[in-house]
């Protein structure tokens, strides 16, 4: 029989006040298999661990049971202690007599008895424990980054600069994302494109980055370090290998459609690049709007192309790749104005969202940076900005704060004032959240130097009256109703996760929260990992955030990926459920209950096979298996039955 040592921890008075330690020690001393029982005030302390180490050696112990707090707290600590003196870590078991005993009971006699029974049952488990070694898994050192906005760009560059290969997948034809649409950035007012485009070029030129735009993730299988992905390259109808990006086709194309990049303020052609600084700077043909695809006539682009790059017969293609880690950086959309019935349901041309106003302010935008309103192109002399539109409104829209609006609206008002000196900007706000380096100073500047009028209160109604947009709101500081006959209104709409993210998360098997944003593994301590190993998060897909926060988070994400790639092997917990091939009848019940796709039925052999890396040791299959062939390591049926007997013995 094995020689088991039991170490009972007082945990100060946490355990000792409710459990009679002396009685427990005495009880266990006579238990079969137990050769030593030792108590100590704090077993997890250095002296406590030293006692364990000494006793393992002096008493020639084969296994130990530490009766203390929950295994989630210190199981790892004590297993490492065992390892340093040459004992297999899996020969160390924890009997939880704190959370499951002393903390939840008041009666000392009852608690003491319960502690004894818990420890006895764990001794029974320890007696039959096998020595186990972690499963080793190789790592494919190549990352897949989904999304080519600033988050994806930063993550891709950072991983690539660490020397690992990256595939960057973007669904639009160019990378750049939302940041490329912005005018100037708070709080320094540097031009967004000027700081972004060099990074876009870096991505395109980086030898470790394979850029796949106009593409989307189609399928995925595998696990951390060993994902197999299938990427769908949408039909571009332009052979980018032949295309030089001369732009002649765009010039000659007779068909126009609203420009997504310019938020519909301007038209683009049916063959187009989203913006002049696009990377890659090659056009695609928009199937929905192209005259040739609609009527079978035109082909002007094909005729003018001197490089024979236009190919109307092009179809979508699929690329299969193997990667070790995936970064989800799919960004955000703006909640549409048409959801706001009180602000005109999107029917008033001079009531626009903040992103559209960014295009109006942008020097590369449709007005060349002059502030002109969409309806008639006049310069608005009074402009009202409304914040928290859809955000912080749990009753009608979304409960969360979209975080960036306070600062960008302040910036909007400031930039407007810089361009229209005799104009008057008003901002309706709930409160101003200017937390960030230089943000409060920026907000102060808007009030003091740019004469932006801040009105604390909500706007109840916006309506068109002749050529004015009338804004009815309340100023809660003065306690009076306010009516402003403005020329234009800009709504700081809520930030939403990008369209299609929900389907993507289903594909990746990662979680989203009640608002549709990706869920991190731990809100404080693991903010850039998803709950699925090997899948990481960055940018507004996880939660609304501004550019500095996005870049910081994407860098952190890249660091986690590099961390993963720096290991030669991944170690996987060996507490898994295998298959006893002699007992397995190949019924496949375990396959259907496995939540991790770890079990597969081999029909030829008539048995089930297990992927040890995918198995998380949840035990579902062990419970379901009718023949006892699926035995979880160190949790066998015999062990469990002995444990139950020990508990029922008193």
């Amino acid at each position: 029989m094995k020689r088991i040592g039991v170490f009972v921890c007082h945990c100060g008075i946490n355990i000792a006040a409710t459990v009679d330690i002396e009685s427990v020690v005495k009880d266990l001393e006579d238990y079969p298999g137990v050769v030593l029982v030792q108590d100590y005030k704090y077993m997890c302390s250095d002296p406590g661990q030293n006692i364990i180490k000494e006793k393992i050696k002096s008493e020639r112990l084969d296994g130990i049971v530490v009766a203390a707090c929950s295994p989630t707290l210190h199981e790892n600590t004590f297993r490492l202690t065992c390892k340093t003196v040459g004992m297999n870590p899996y020969s160390c078991e924890i009997a939880n007599i704190r959370e499951q005993c002393s903390w939840v009971h008041k009666n000392k006699d009852e608690a003491t008895l319960k502690a004894k029974l818990i420890i006895r049952s764990i001794v029974e488990k320890a007696l039959l424990d096998e020595e186990l070694e972690p499963v080793q898994v190789p790592v494919i050192r190549k990352a897949l980054v989904l999304g080519g906005g600033i988050a994806g760009i930063q993550a891709a560059l950072s991983i690539a600069n660490s020397g690992y290969e990256v595939i960057l997948v973007e669904k639009q034809s160019s990378i750049g994302g939302r940041m490329a649409q912005l005018s100037e950035t708070f709080p320094t007012l540097d031009c967004s494109q000027c700081i972004l485009t060099p990074k876009m070029v870096d991505v395109a030129q980086h030898e470790k980055i394979r850029l796949m735009t106009y593409s989307e993730l189609e399928d995925i299988s595998g696990f951390v370090g060993n994902f197999k992905v299938k990427i769908r390259q949408k039909a571009k109808y332009v052979d980018w290998d032949k295309c030089t990006g001369c732009g002649l086709c765009i010039e000659k194309c007779p068909k126009k459609a609203p420009s997504e990049f310019d938020q519909g303020l301007e038209k683009r052609k049916a063959v187009f690049t989203p913006f002049p600084q696009a990377v890659p700077n090659k056009p695609v043909i928009d199937h929905e709007n192209c005259t040739y695809f609609k009527t079978g006539k035109c082909q002007l682009c094909k005729i003018v192309c001197s490089f024979d790059a236009v190919d109307f017969d092009e179809t979508e293609t699929f690329v299969e790749e193997e990667v070790g880690a995936i970064v989800v950086a799919t960004g955000y959309d703006v909640y549409p104005v048409l959801n706001m019935d009180e602000y005109g349901s999107g029917k008033l041309p001079d009531v626009i969202d903040g992103l559209t106003f960014e295009r109006i302010l942008s020097s590369s935008g449709p007005t060349g940076g002059e502030v002109r309103r969409p309806s008639d192109g006049t310069v608005p002399k009074e402009i009202v900005f409304i914040k928290c539109v859809g955000s912080r409104d749990p009753e009608h829209h979304f409960p969360y704060c979209s975080k960036i609006c306070c600062m960008y609206t302040t910036k909007h008002a400031m930039l407007y004032k810089h361009r229209v000196h005799d104009g008057q900007p008003y901002i309706f706000y709930m409160d101003v959240r200017a937390g960030g380096k230089g943000y409060e100073e920026f907000y102060q500047r808007a009030q003091e130097e740019d004469n932006v009028i801040f009105l604390r209160g909500k706007v109840s109604k916006v309506y068109q009256d002749d050529d004015k947009v009338v804004v009815c709101g309340i100023d809660t500081i003065y306690g009076r109703n306010v009516e402003i006959r403005a020329d234009m209104v800009v709504l700081a709409m809520a930030i939403r996760p990008s369209k299609g993210v929900e389907e993507l998360t289903r594909l990746l098997k990662i979680a989203i929260d009640q608002n549709g944003f990706l869920t991190e593994a731990h809100p404080k301590l693991r903010p850039v990992e998803s709950l699925s190993a090997g899948i990481y998060l960055a940018g507004c897909a996880q939660a609304p955030k501004d550019i500095p926060d996005t870049v910081a988070q994407a860098s952190a994400t890249a660091s986690m990926v590099s961390n993963l790639f720096s290991q030669e092997y991944l170690l996987h917990d060996p507490l898994i459920t295998g298959v006893n091939e002699d007992l397995c009848s190949g019924c496949g019940v375990c396959v259907s209950v496995c939540p991790y796709d770890a079990r597969k039925l081999n029909k030829e052999e008539g048995i089930v096979e297990v992927n040890e890396v995918l198995c998380e040791g949840c035990g579902s299959c062990s419970a379901a298996c009718p023949s006892g062939a699926a035995q979880q390591k160190n949790f066998t049926d015999t062990q469990l039955s002995n444990m139950v007997k020990a508990i029922l013995s008193e």
């Binding site: 019935d341 009180e342 349901s345 009608h396 109604k461 309506y463 068109q464 009256d465 009338v470």
Partner: protein
């Protein structure tokens, strides 16, 4: 098709023309509204003013009557009654404990009411349920360029839990107007409160609002305004006459119950209207547009 019908007090006094026109229109559209026997006052907005359960008794007794009538759809014409009854239904459904207390109090009633048994419905939703196509077919007088401003008021739209349409951008009245062959005038104050009971103590509030609402409808080209609520009717029709007395330059706009307009378009008996009840006489406009 048959529905049970709860008139409420105003429909039997000041708003007789609303009742007669609505019942006649529904009759033409094939719906019989069977008036509840022995009905009570709905309790008006006072029943919703505090959480005193006693105040719920009046609307619930009415709902019990409706349940007993065996016809689960209960039509209310007055929007105030609609609001009161519908909110009582929601109140009961939301709070089992309070429902229990109410049941204990109402121990002499033979019937118990749990909230789901009666569907309180307003006349607009009922017409929509009958079908706008059917309404279109029933129209016998085709009019040209009759521009209608539909005024919703609050009671059908707020709170949003009982709203019959979007509280801020509704369209059900405009849909009905369009189906009846008239033109819609959109004006920004169609869902603005008329001032309601402030007419009793602070009539100036109502006058200011009436000016704003009527002025906005006129500015957008309305020939007529149609409404549903007897109180809105008072505040927008009667008050116009008072404003006119103070300010002779004030331009008036005739106000009709939407069912009156429909009755005219369906070519129903003119006796149901009693135009003497109107402060701003609609007859000149109606004559001009060929409806009289």
């Amino acid at each position: 098709m048959q529905v049970s019908y709860y008139p409420g007090c105003t429909l039997k006094t000041n708003a007789k023309n609303f009742e007669t026109s609505a019942l006649a229109v529904l009759d033409r559209l094939g719906v019989t509204a069977q008036e509840l026997e022995d009905w009570y006052c709905c309790g008006v907005c006072f029943s919703q003013a505090s959480d005193n359960l006693m105040q719920q008794i009046a609307p619930i007794r009415t709902l019990v009557k409706a349940k007993e009538s065996g016809n689960p759809q209960l039509l209310t014409l007055c929007t105030m009654c609609y609001n009161t009854l519908k909110r009582s239904v929601e109140f009961i459904k939301a709070d089992e404990e309070k429902l229990e207390t109410i049941h204990k109090f109402m121990d002499r009633e033979a019937t118990r009411f749990y909230g789901d048994e009666v569907d309180v419905i307003d006349v607009l939703s009922l017409i929509k349920q009958i079908g706008l196509d059917k309404l279109k077919e029933a129209v016998v007088k085709k009019v040209k360029n009759l521009k209608i401003a539909s005024y919703y008021g609050c009671m059908l739209l707020r709170p949003k839990e009982i709203a019959i349409d979007s509280p801020d951008d509704p369209s059900i009245m405009e849909d009905i107007i369009l189906a009846s062959g008239c033109e819609n005038v959109y004006f920004p104050f169609r869902t603005e409160c008329c001032g309601s009971y402030q007419i009793v103590n602070e009539p100036d509030i109502v006058k200011t609002r009436a000016k704003k609402i009527i002025g906005s409808a006129l500015k957008n080209g309305a020939d007529l305004m149609v409404i549903l609520c007897p109180l809105c009717y008072y505040n927008l029709d009667e008050v116009q006459a008072e404003i006119r007395k103070e300010d002779p330059r004030f331009q008036t706009l005739p106000v009709l119950y939407i069912t009156q307009l429909l009755a005219l378009l369906l070519g129903l008996d003119l006796d149901i209207h009693d135009f003497s009840l109107h402060s701003v006489d609609p007859r000149p406009v109606l004559k001009r547009k060929g409806l009289l």
